[in-house]
């Protein structure tokens, strides 16, 4: 899973319907980088997660806003206020790293597989409209550059 054939009819129809919203992108962006062992890595999650004290993801235009997750976050302080009910949350309830692998990233940095872990990571709520998300994501890219990030791991939900 979720191979489409493994889902129920109504879920499958919605996911296929979402294909129609994807614009026909032109070109193929590609930025080369150095060895992984020297990269500074940040996570951007679209799982609608945030720290327990942060504002939950709202509806409408506010659905496009991001939340900042500092690298020293305790993964067990993260909660989820995503709009959708169409995915499993029990995995996240047991272990936030199954959605936001910050502890795994710290381990890979300690082992020298990656260079370092960024000071700040970001979360969006993936049910937000693509057109509204784009300027916010580009804004976050600017913030990542100021944190000297040269590798981003995007995780869905």
């Amino acid at each position: 899973m979720p191979r489409l054939e493994s889902l129920g009819e109504w879920e499958r129809e919605l996911l296929l319907d979402m294909l129609k919203e994807i614009p026909a992108y032109e070109g193929q962006p590609w930025v080369a980088g150095g060895p992984l062992a020297r990269r500074r890595v940040a996570i951007i999650s679209t799982a609608g997660i945030h720290q327990a004290g942060d504002a939950p993801y709202a509806d409408g235009m506010a659905a496009h806003d991001y939340r900042v997750i500092p690298a020293d976050v305790q993964a067990d302080q993260l909660v989820m206020s995503h709009l959708s009910s169409n995915y499993d949350r029990t995995g996240f309830q047991q272990d936030a790293n199954v959605v936001f692998p910050i502890d795994r990233l710290q381990e890979l940095a300690a082992e020298g597989v990656i260079g370092s872990v960024a000071d700040f990571h970001y979360a969006f709520m993936g049910a937000a409209r693509l057109a509204g998300l784009e300027p916010k994501v580009r804004q976050v890219a600017g913030l990542l550059k100021r944190d000297a990030v040269d590798a981003v791991l995007l995780t869905p939900v």
């Binding site: 191979r3 509806d59 597989v113």
Partner: protein
């Protein structure tokens, strides 16, 4: 999202859960994983498994050309104590709900699950049922009150009703699922979902809540009831709300 960040000059890699979407978007680098929606790293509580997935996604950053869309070869492990059989919650909710009133049945369920929920909070050192700020009994009360009377005032003045309903229902569902997850006889996510929606007063209340929301003039409340409350794995959306 990967395309936009790459256009801004930062290399990206990503985990993909819906291969068809990723193939259409053509992000620079993506690793498709054969895991259920909601678990991009595959296996809760299995750090070595998660680390292999993260390392595989990061390794795509060293490819020399793209776009890259690779398939991750490893399936998520099935917990050893899931036997695939019918899941029966050891807390037996007595029926019929209708005779005793839904509000009362909800409150009784919440009380019966309390020791398991408390155990879950101690085990994990956390709860995700904290969005609304309400105690579990108050969550159940608000939902029952709203079903009975949609003029029920929102429980927090800083929240619009649609958001208040979303947070309180997500909290109550998390309360139930966190509680049953620590009971003897672990079960697969799908079995717990079936139990919540088909066998509990809470599941029954959520269907009634959807009907109550659909009667509202507030489009955000209607939209919440139609799209965000009941998973498509359980029921189709009402007529007129099939699209995202």
């Amino acid at each position: 999202m990967g395309r936009w960040i790459e256009e801004e000059g930062i290399p990206t890699t990503q985990i993909s859960l819906v291969r068809e979407h990723t193939a259409a978007i053509r992000p620079p680098r993506a690793l498709w994983v054969p895991f259920m929606l909601g678990r991009p790293l595959g296996a809760p509580g299995d750090a070595p498994f998660q680390r292999r997935v993260v390392a595989a996604a990061l390794s795509l950053l060293e490819k020399s050309a793209g776009p890259v869309l690779e398939d991750y070869p490893e399936e998520a492990p099935v917990p050893a104590d899931v036997d695939g059989g019918e899941f029966a919650c050891p807390v037996s909710f007595s029926r019929p709900v209708v005779a005793q009133g839904l509000a009362g049945a909800l409150q009784r369920e919440v009380a019966e699950l309390a020791p398991w929920y408390d155990l879950a909070v101690r085990k994990h050192g956390r709860t995700t049922a904290s969005l609304s700020g309400l105690a579990p009994a108050a969550m159940a009360q608000f939902i029952a009150d709203f079903i009975a009377n949609q003029a029920t005032p929102v429980y927090r003045q800083d929240l619009a009703m649609a958001l208040a309903l979303r947070l309180v229902t997500q909290d109550l569902k998390a309360y139930y699922l966190e509680a049953v997850a620590v009971q003897p006889g672990a079960r697969a996510a799908q079995a717990a979902r079936e139990w919540f929606w088909r066998e509990t007063a809470a599941g029954q209340a959520f269907f009634q809540l959807r009907d109550a929301c659909l009667q509202q003039m507030d489009e955000a409340v209607k939209g919440f009831g139609a799209r965000s409350l009941i998973p498509l794995a359980i029921a189709p959306r009402p007529d007129g709300y099939q699209k995202k």
